[in-house]
C-alpha cells in the first residue's frame, strides 16, 4: 500500500515535504448543508477547537501576519515615488541582480548535483551509502555562519582547496563564485530530498518494459524516467531558489560584500539598517519579500501537482 503514511516514514521526506493535509474522516461527518463548501465548518465531536484555534491564530498572527503587514504598510507609507526611490537605487538594483543571478546559478547547479546524488542514493547500492545519505542533511543542521566561515577558509589561497584552485585562477572566496558555492551547499538537501523518494518509488517495470520493447537506455531515460521525475526536479529547483534568495549567514562571510559586485539584497538591507536608513531597508525588504512569497505560491502549486501525480501513478 502506498499512501501518505508510507511517504512519511520514508526517512528523508518529512524534512522538506510540505504539509498538505488531505480530506480525512472528519469531513464525512459534516452534515449536508446548502452553504458553499468552503464556508462549512465541520462539527467534530472532538474537543479543543477553541483552544487550538486561539493558540494557532495568536502565534501565526503575532509572528507572521502582523510583522509582515507592518513591513508592507511602512513601505507603503513611503508613497509610490518614495518607494521607487528607496527600492530602485543603482546599488539596490545591482544587489537584486547579484541575488537573483547567483541564486539562479546556484539553484541550477544544486538541482543538477542533487539529481545525481539522489539517483545514486536511490539506485546504486554501495558500502557507506547510509553515511553519505546522512551527510546530505548536514547543511540543514549546520549553522549557515559556520558554513560561510569554513568555505571562505577553504577557498582562500592558504586553504585546503584554494591552495591549488587560486593558482589556476579560480577564486572561491570573496567572489561571485563563492556566493554560488555556499548557496549550492545550503540548498543541496532540498534538491536531493525532493527527488530521492520519487526515484525510489519509480516503477521499474515500466523501465524494463521500455528496454524489452527495444528502447535504448537513452530513450528509456528520456521517455520513461524524465517525465516521472520532472515535477519533483522542478519543485526542488524552486525550493533551492527560494532558500538561496533569502540566505544571509553564509554569504556574508564569503562574498566580500562589495557594492555593485558581490553584495546580495539581504546584505544591503543590513547595511542600510546599520546606517539607520530604515525607509530604504524596508523598501528593499518588501521587494525581496514579494519575490519569496511568489516563489512560495509557485512551490505550493508544484507540490500539489506532485502529490496528485504521485496518487495517479499508485498501483
Amino acid at each position: 500500500m502506498i499512501g501518505p503514511y508510507q511517504d512519511l516514514h520514508d526517512n528523508q521526506k518529512p524534512m522538506i515535504a510540505l504539509a498538505t493535509p488531505s480530506i480525512s474522516a472528519a469531513d464525512s461527518l459534516a452534515p449536508p448543508t446548502s452553504r458553499p463548501r468552503w464556508l462549512r465548518r465541520n462539527r467534530s465531536p472532538l474537543p479543543g477547537f477553541g483552544t487550538t484555534a486561539a493558540i494557532t491564530s495568536l502565534v501565526v498572527g503575532t509572528l507572521v501576519i502582523v510583522p509582515l503587514t507592518v513591513l508592507v504598510a511602512s513601505a507603503a507609507s513611503l508613497g509610490p515615488l518614495g518607494f521607487a526611490a528607496a527600492a530602485w537605487t543603482p546599488r539596490a538594483r545591482a544587489a537584486y541582480g547579484v541575488s537573483l543571478g547567483a541564486s539562479l546559478l546556484a539553484a541550477v547547479a544544486s538541482t543538477a548535483l542533487g539529481l545525481i546524488v539522489a539517483w545514486v542514493l536511490a539506485r546504486v547500492p554501495f558500502r557507506g551509502r547510509r553515511l553519505i545519505d546522512a551527510f546530505v542533511d548536514v547543511p540543514l543542521a549546520l549553522p549557515t555562519a559556520v558554513a560561510g566561515l569554513v568555505y571562505s577558509a577553504l577557498y582562500v589561497k592558504q586553504g585546503w582547496l584554494g591552495a591549488w584552485l587560486v593558482p589556476m585562477g579560480v577564486h572561491g572566496a570573496y567572489s561571485y563564485f563563492g556566493i554560488v558555492l555556499v548557496l549550492v551547499f545550503v540548498s543541496l538537501p532540498f534538491t536531493v530530498r525532493v527527488v530521492q523518494p520519487v526515484i525510489e518509488n519509480l516503477d521499474r517495470d515500466a523501465e524494463e518494459a521500455a528496454l524489452m520493447l527495444g528502447a535504448s537506455r537513452r530513450q528509456t531515460f528520456l521517455r520513461v524516467i524524465v517525465p516521472a521525475i520532472a515535477p519533483a526536479v522542478v519543485t526542488g529547483f524552486a525550493m533551492a531558489l527560494a532558500r538561496s534568495l533569502g540566505e544571509y549567514g553564509s554569504v556574508v562571510f564569503i562574498s566580500g560584500n562589495m557594492p555593485f559586485k558581490t553584495e546580495i539584497a539581504p546584505v544591503l538591507i543590513v547595511a542600510r539598517l546599520e546606517e539607520f536608513a530604515y525607509a530604504e531597508a524596508t523598501a528593499i525588504a518588501v521587494v525581496l519579500l514579494t519575490l519569496s512569497l511568489t516563489l512560495l505560491v509557485v512551490i505550493n502549486v508544484l507540490q500539489h501537482r506532485l502529490s496528485r501525480s504521485a496518487v495517479g501513478t499508485e498501483k
Binding site: 526517512n11 474522516a25 483552544t51 502565534v59 507572521v64 549553522p143 585546503w160 543590513v270 524596508t282
Partner: protein, 272 residues
C-alpha cells in the same frame, strides 16, 4: 556512485572536517582556551543555550495545537492557514528581523509603549527569542501534521465516546502516537535555533557580551581576524549539528521500524 561521493564529499564532508581541523590547530588546550577563557564567548554560549530551548518550547506548543486544529477540524480558511505555516521557510531571515525591528524597535510601532513600560525587546533577549521562534516556526508543526493526518481521528473519537476529557485524549491517545515525529521536529527546530544567524543578527544589535549568540560570536571573531577562536566556536556549533543529525537518524530508524510493524499488522488484518 563515485560522482555522488565526490559531490557530497567536496561540498559537505571536506568543509565539515576542516572546521574541526582548523579549530584544533592550536591543540586541544588552545581550543579550550579560546572557548573558556574569553568571557564574551562564554556569554555567547550561555545566551544561545538560553534562547534555543525557549524558542523550541514555543514551537512545541504551537506545533501541537496547530496540527490538532488543522487535522481534526474543517473550517473556512484552513488551507490558507496551513500554507501560512510555511511562510517563515521562504522569507529571508533578514527581512523577518527587519519586520520585528519595525514593530518593537525604538522608532517602531510599539516603541513608545515598550519604552514607557521599560521593556527591551530589540537588542535584548526577548527579541532573540521572537526572531528564533519565527525562523523555526514551521519545523515542528510540519512533522506532526502528516502523522496526525495519516492516523486519523478514530482512536480519539473512541476515547471521547468513552468519556475521556480533552486533555486525557491528548496525553493518552494523541501524544503517544506523535511522540517520535514530535521529537524529530524538536531536533530540527533546536538545530536551526542554535544556528540562526540572519534574523538574530538584525534583532540583536550584535553587542558582544550582551546579545551575541554563538553564530554571531563566530562572525565577530572572524571580523576581528581571530580566525582560530572563531573556528573554535564554529566547531562547537558543528559538533552540536552532528549530534542533532545522529539523533535524527536514530529517530528515523525508530519511525521506520514502527512503520514496518504497523504494515505487518495491517497485512495480517487484511488476510484475516
Amino acid at each position: 556512485m563515485a560522482a555522488a561521493i565526490g559531490i557530497v564529499g567536496l561540498l559537505i564532508v571536506v568543509p565539515l572536517a576542516s572546521v574541526f581541523h582548523a579549530a584544533l590547530a592550536n591543540g586541544l588546550s588552545g581550543w579550550w582556551a579560546a572557548l573558556a577563557h574569553d568571557p564574551d564567548t562564554r556569554h555567547a554560549i550561555a545566551l544561545s543555550l538560553s534562547v534555543a530551548p525557549v524558542a523550541v518550547a514555543f514551537n512545541v506548543v504551537f506545533g501541537v495545537a496547530a496540527a490538532w486544529l488543522v487535522t481534526r477540524f474543517r473550517f473556512p480558511g484552513r488551507a490558507l492557514l496551513v500554507s501560512l505555516f510555511d511562510v517563515p521557510l521562504s522569507v529571508s531571515p533578514v527581512v523577518a528581523g527587519l519586520a520585528l525591528v519595525l514593530i518593537f524597535g525604538r522608532q517602531g510601532l510599539l516603541g513608545p509603549t515598550l519604552a514607557w513600560l521599560d521593556w527591551k525587546v530589540i537588542f535584548a533577549w526577548p527579541g532573540l527569542v521572537i526572531a528564533t521562534t519565527f525562523v523555526t516556526l514551521p519545523l515542528v508543526v510540519r512533522e506532526i501534521i502528516p502523522v496526525m493526518e495519516a492516523n486519523g481521528s478514530d482512536e480519539e473519537l473512541a476515547a471521547v465516546t468513552l468519556g475521556a476529557s480533552g486533555w486525557q485524549v491528548f496525553t493518552r491517545v494523541t501524544l503517544p502516537n506523535i511522540r517520535w515525529p514530535l521529537l524529530h521536529g524538536i531536533v530540527l527546530a533546536n538545530a536551526r535555533a542554535l544556528g540562526e544567524f540572519g534574523a538574530v543578527y538584525v534583532v540583536s544589535g550584535h553587542i558582544a557580551g550582551a546579545t551575541d549568540t554563538m553564530p554571531l560570536r563566530v562572525e565577530k571573531l572572524f571580523q576581528d581576524y581571530r580566525t582560530p577562536a572563531s573556528m573554535a566556536v564554529a566547531s562547537v556549533l558543528a559538533g552540536l549539528a552532528l549530534v542533532s543529525l545522529v539523533v535524527k537518524v536514530l529517530i528515523e530508524r525508530k519511525l521506520a521500524a514502527d512503520h514496518r510493524e504497523l504494515e505487518a499488522a495491517r497485512s495480517v488484518g487484511e488476510t484475516v
